[in-house]
Symmetry: C2
Subunit: 357 residues, 2 copies
Amino acid sequence: MQKKLFIPGPVDVLPEVLKQMERPMISHRGKEISAILERIIGNTRKLMYTKNTILISTSSATGLMEGAIRNCVSKRCVNFANGAFAERWHGIAKECGKEADLVSVEWGKPITADIVDEALSSGKYDAMTMVHNETSTGVMSPISEIANVVKDYDVSFLVDTVSSMAGVKIEVDKLGIDVCLYGTQKCMALPPGLALCSVSDGALKKAEGITGRGHYFDFLALKKSIDKLQTTTTPAISLLYALDYQLDRIINKEGQENRYKRHAEMAGIARKWAADNFELIPEEKYASNTVTAIRNTKSMDLGGLKKKLAEKGYEFSNGYGKFKDVSFRIPHMGDRTVEELMQYLDDLDECISGPSC
Amino acid sequence: MQKKLFIPGPVDVLPEVLKQMERPMISHRGKEISAILERIIGNTRKLMYTKNTILISTSSATGLMEGAIRNCVSKRCVNFANGAFAERWHGIAKECGKEADLVSVEWGKPITADIVDEALSSGKYDAMTMVHNETSTGVMSPISEIANVVKDYDVSFLVDTVSSMAGVKIEVDKLGIDVCLYGTQKCMALPPGLALCSVSDGALKKAEGITGRGHYFDFLALKKSIDKLQTTTTPAISLLYALDYQLDRIINKEGQENRYKRHAEMAGIARKWAADNFELIPEEKYASNTVTAIRNTKSMDLGGLKKKLAEKGYEFSNGYGKFKDVSFRIPHMGDRTVEELMQYLDDLDECISGPSC
């Protein structure tokens, strides 16, 4: 039985989107692929509210995290962390041989403007990383307030929006984000395998002076190709078909504002359910609009719950990393509908109130 | 009009293979994906005649070239080059900050055992790179003879088999190849977006002592995950569906030996056509079984020829890089049939003998 994916990515992909991948191969150096890339770039700029360079990578978003680190950290970076994915930034920085400091807050808390201000005021850093929406804890950090602080410093502002882009409005140029990156398998409701990012002119200029950019994730090489509506190496053509189609759906069919509204509405429903039955992990004002993380205050057997939901045709998501057993998550992202979420919550209620949970 | 791709990758993919990508998403951490990965690894080991670790990367093969360099070059590497893709190895090595020497022969010539022996005997190198089948010049270097030489040295043997694996028998363990890498969009007749490689125990052991392995292409991290039938990051699930299906087709339906025979038969036909009408670029004994590169001895207008073939429903391939205008290529790889190739040659004859070529 095909399960409905109530995990925070990969998410269910609409049949009409999957269908795009049945299209035959084309040359990766011809006019047809250039036209596809041109549409993708145009619509991605709309999606991200940016005029910056758009890079398309055949990799997961983690690859572009490595790219951001390799291309944008010259002296030393600070990695703000409030969960598993924010911590990954720090691991990557160290693995790429960069000088890097980890500034951590408790899992479940947001990164705040004050925390960022304090670290950056040390003058030690030329780059900072953060995760906008921590998939592991359901926390959405206040990016606007943080951006206001970052503007006062000469640092590269590197942001992982993996689980928020296309589900929440993120105005890249207004926020002054230098590198904003994400994968396709979360709020964009596409199969995994492609990652995208915007890169500011300032970041590109800075990269020219940074050695150790490597090859596959060298932003300058990627830019040089994409400026010609080409890719450096053979891209995942089938995934580009799907991306092209889905961006058009998001921008021109559903509409961005409607998409954000739907995500907000689903988040409201999930949070109310959580508050009525358990406890939200984040403070409500920092709760994510794309995934709701819930403390397992009833000490339910999450493994048992997972099994019961599987029988009902759902893929359930418990917590992540050190939150694995003490929390569970209700994702509401991508092309998920309000009705599907409500049905899921009903089924969840039934499973929870039944025996063995 | 959908064109038949007579370019050396991406190649045409069978509808039944494309169809696999319509399958719905699944969790990237569940039992189902592990079962898929297990089958892929088992069949890939058969395809490569190896017991080595198999790594699966969501990237193009170029990404794994970077991985091979980062993980396996400690002191200094030698990059044997006889075409564009062999030269890429050298570029990557330099970009990754490795000490590297380029040993070049004229484009169109093979790398020979003597050339390799001479370079390695200097004792300067702990790693060497080569391309088995140079897509840019249609040259297949004598890998068995080279392997016989390499065995006498303590060097990591890094081989790009991008355009030969699955079209030509490459017995990795017998040859003692440490890292053997390729993408899916050539002889495997799959969409691009995934790359695979085998890594020997010796290479993995050596990697432990090498810093600067980075993150995304860190072979030790990739191995740690794949040993648990997991991936480090969310993989391109749709492409894994297609890979799983196609490996089964290659190994269990067509059969590997039949596949090699078909490629050899097509190569024979293409070479005869080339010799009758033009001139082969490589010496016949080094001519590739997957792509035939032909000197444009009649000084045809290749742009005009490309247009005429496009009208007949073909994507034609001229030369690559500095061979762009002086040569053209007839690929015969993947699931291409003998009949399709013969029809193409007939149509090519008609176009060539007609006006404007």
